[in-house]
Symmetry: C2
Subunit: 496 residues, 2 copies
């Protein structure tokens, strides 16, 4: 008879294998799978997810955890038990039939949302979103009936996060960013223009060059192509990223590749002993986004980095790059302009898009806003935060998939990630000559810095502890607002 | 409480999902996965295979099958029960620890075989192959201690096949093919030459053109690239093929694509009701190879087919195809020349390579040949069947992976498939004007012929019944030898 710890290890191996299979199937489906093979894939995914769920809701688990805790545990073993017990609780508190019904609801809702977005028909999507909001509010009470529903979901995506902390964070952002954007808009600057034909074959070569420059071993990380860029983590020895090439604009894929490389590096540097356990991989959404945005924005969109890769871009695109200096490239990569679509937003206005979503989903979850009133509320917020009017719901409230998928509390982690990243850069800069390293493409010291403080710990430490490792102090959004203010004041020649 | 039939249906859905995952991971690993991610993949594959094995060896299954049989069953339900019971018996008769040990042995042996092949060192591989042969002989006795071991394994790959039937088949082949090859060799004809630079980008376009011409819907079947071409069957709505492009020779990939398309068409046309059951997909190895070889050789290497696709080849490769007629292409695609490597052999000498392996593995399994004497026996057989001397074991007895993987009894199905294909063509030709259809690229009547007689039945009918459907009579290798004799007598202007 295997010991409790052996059984817990075997359970984690099973969960790992199912998760590996689910990742592989999802990656395949988004990249190379034939378009009409969805029925059988859905069937397979449903079965495998059911097996995964069944492993985590086994009624014997709590006794097993208790038995394991009677012995002496290493720090890692204790963390594994905590994490598994957390997953058990999360999964078990929702009755199985309600869980299954919600899966079906969101799966249908995503299809309806696609149609509603395509035809600018919020009314079509409205009853689905109403059911989703109701269900999420009910589920929140299963976790903690004392807490406001939105707090439950914030904590889900970013352990320890509360509405109170979020409010403070976003208030501080609003105070700085809104006037900054207003100043930039007032400048009415003409954005620099680049060529509009960038052959995809050379863009593919640029992707390989960039990944290599950031220190990604192609033996452990390959790139594919999909409609929307993403990262798929199989395990620390195999991570995939994807991009989408636009012939008219090479910067789009270039920054996607750098962004996803940030996610990939985090996963690739998980500590060896965490492999195949529930502690492997990035700690939270916010921390993951901090790494992708650190690489994409703080490093990738910096002048020294762009200076360093300029020769390779010139080599690949000699005619397109004729007469384009590093400074020109830097300006083209950092145009700030309020716009309708979050995923196409620049570094500054991006967090305003998040704030709009934050305000609205908080009100939805806490019962202060009815779903039918959402489009009007959306449009009002876009006016308030970004100063633009929304011409229709397709490019407004219907633009993101998240709510159709049932994800509330996810959006704030995008903005938090950016803020974490800025503070990491500040801290890193105390001991590393970042400008020189970025210019030379010498990412080894940067990887080591991040690896030692964050990456190698996987989910073994709480997010707050990881941030403390990195910051050697408390999180302070001022690093982020200072970073944006300094960078964009210089770019747009603003008065202090 | 679900009924026995409901439980059996649920079991098949679980098996389907695990098989889907295994296929997806294997396809990924051979096409786009990073090269150094094998440890975690091995871990995942082992867990998923273990789950698959556990489902099929559940001690309650026999009682469940018996219970299900007490009710009235449809033909399909009865066939599902038979097939599941066959799989249960096959899997359960080998003790779990011996099964696991054999998996480890063959996994190690494949690695050692790769090294032995690379360094021409049979002695390195010899002890592994000895253990594999011993284990396979022991396992055969678990299935049926009365039967010669080799008969057990023949029946495994091709239900109903015996040494006796194989002997008769190969004797008849030998009688015709050996003198045919001798006549061709005596002609000492100069093979036609084609250009030696065929850009891969255009070869990729040719692949898409060919798949479309054969009637493959790209919404249900995509092509990838791998070291060795193969077909991966997810389910009838999603089948993948792969090819390998050689810049120097476009015919290599072209015929791989047609070959794998034959496999794919078979799977894509499985009857709808068989989906997600153990009866879905091709019936046996021999039948599968019959479809791939039918398309590759009987259709693909025919003059009318090549005439029909000539304009597209000329369009894609104008300079390479300058002055090349359909007749030239036909001759280039049908050069007959004894050579060392099976996978590169032409249509005629291919079956001689199979005969060499057949003789040797039969003797190994039946204890008439010691593994240490295998290289000498191999070389003697190559001399006897193909009239060539083997310079070293790397291009001799070490060339194929099959035995390292523990597969004995697999090789004959390649030759049988070719013979089945020739008889199908003869039968088809009684009602279809094949030359006209191949010239026009009108494969719809051909697909319908095959679908109605073979494809749609999946594994629901026994192989003999499927062949009877196709032939409307008994299998007779004379169709195959006649086909080869006629085709190659004309090509090489041989006297009757």
């Amino acid at each position: 008879m295997p010991t409790a710890l052996e059984q817990i290890s075997a359970l984690q191996h099973k969960l790992y294998a199912l998760q590996y299979a689910l990742n592989c199937i999802e990656l395949d489906s988004s990249t190379v799978a034939p378009k009409k093979g969805y029925t059988g894939r859905g069937q397979a995914l449903e079965e495998l997810s059911r097996s995964h769920h069944a492993l985590l809701t086994d009624s014997g688990l709590l006794a097993l955890f208790a038995e394991a805790r009677t012995g002496t545990l290493t720090q890692q073993q204790a963390a594994e038990l905590d994490e598994l017990e957390r997953q058990y609780n999360e999964t078990s508190r929702i009755p199985a039939d309600e869980y299954a019904a919600f899966s079906r609801l969101t799966s249908e809702a995503v299809t309806v949302w696609e149609q509603a977005k395509a035809t600018n028909d919020f009314a079509l999507f409205c009853p689905y979103l109403e059911k989703i909001v109701d269900t999420r509010r009910r589920f929140a009470a299963y976790f903690d009936p004392q807490k406001p529903a939105y707090d439950v979901w914030l904590n889900q995506f970013e352990k320890g996060l509360t509405t109170q902390r979020c409010n403070a964070f976003f208030d501080q952002l609003k105070e700085t960013i809104t006037p900054l954007v207003a100043q930039i808009v007032a400048k009415n600057a003409t954005p620099p223009t680049l060529a509009t034909q960038w052959p995809v074959a050379e863009q593919r070569q640029l992707s390989a060059y960039l990944m290599n420059r950031l220190g990604i071993d192609s033996g452990h990380c390959m790139i594919g192509e999909s409609e929307h860029p993403f990262t798929a983590e199989f395990y620390k020895g195999d991570v995939r990223i994807t991009t989408h090439y636009h012939e008219a604009d090479f910067l789009s894929s270039m920054f996607s590749v750098i962004h996803e490389s940030g996610h990939a590096l985090y996963e690739l540097h998980t500590g060896d002993t965490l492999q195949y356990t529930c502690l492997a991989g990035g700690a939270t959404m916010g921390l993951h986004e901090s790494q992708s945005r650190l690489f994409e924005n703080c490093f990738g969109r910096s002048l020294p980095f762009l200076q360093g890769i300029l020769p390779e871009i010139q080599r690949l695109f000699p005619s397109q790059m004729e007469g384009v200096s590093a400074e020109d490239l830097y300006r083209a990569a950092n145009v700030c302009q309020p716009s309708l679509i979050r995923t196409e937003a620049d570094e500054v206005t991006y967090c305003l898009h998040i704030m709009v979503r934050y305000q609205l989903e908080k009100q939805l979850m806490n019962g202060e806003l009815a779903v039918r009133d959402l489009p009007a509320a959306w449009n009002a917020q876009m006016q308030e935060y970004l100063g633009i009017s929304v011409p229709n719901d397709s490019v407004g409230v219907l633009q993101d998939i998240h709510w159709a998928g049932g994800d509330f509390g996810y959006f704030p982690s995008y903005a938090l990630g950016s803020a974490y990243a800025a503070q990491m850069v500040a801290k890193m800069g105390e001991t590393l000559d970042l400008d020189a390293l970025l210019l030379q493409g010498d990412f080894a010291p940067i990887r080591e810095w991040l690896s030692e403080r964050i990456w190698k710990y996987g989910k073994m430490l709480a997010p707050d502890a990881l941030l403390h490792n990195a910051f050697e102090g408390e999180f302070d959004p001022k690093f982020y607002t200072d970073y944006l203010t300094k960078k964009y004041s210089e770019l747009y020649d603003l008065k202090a």
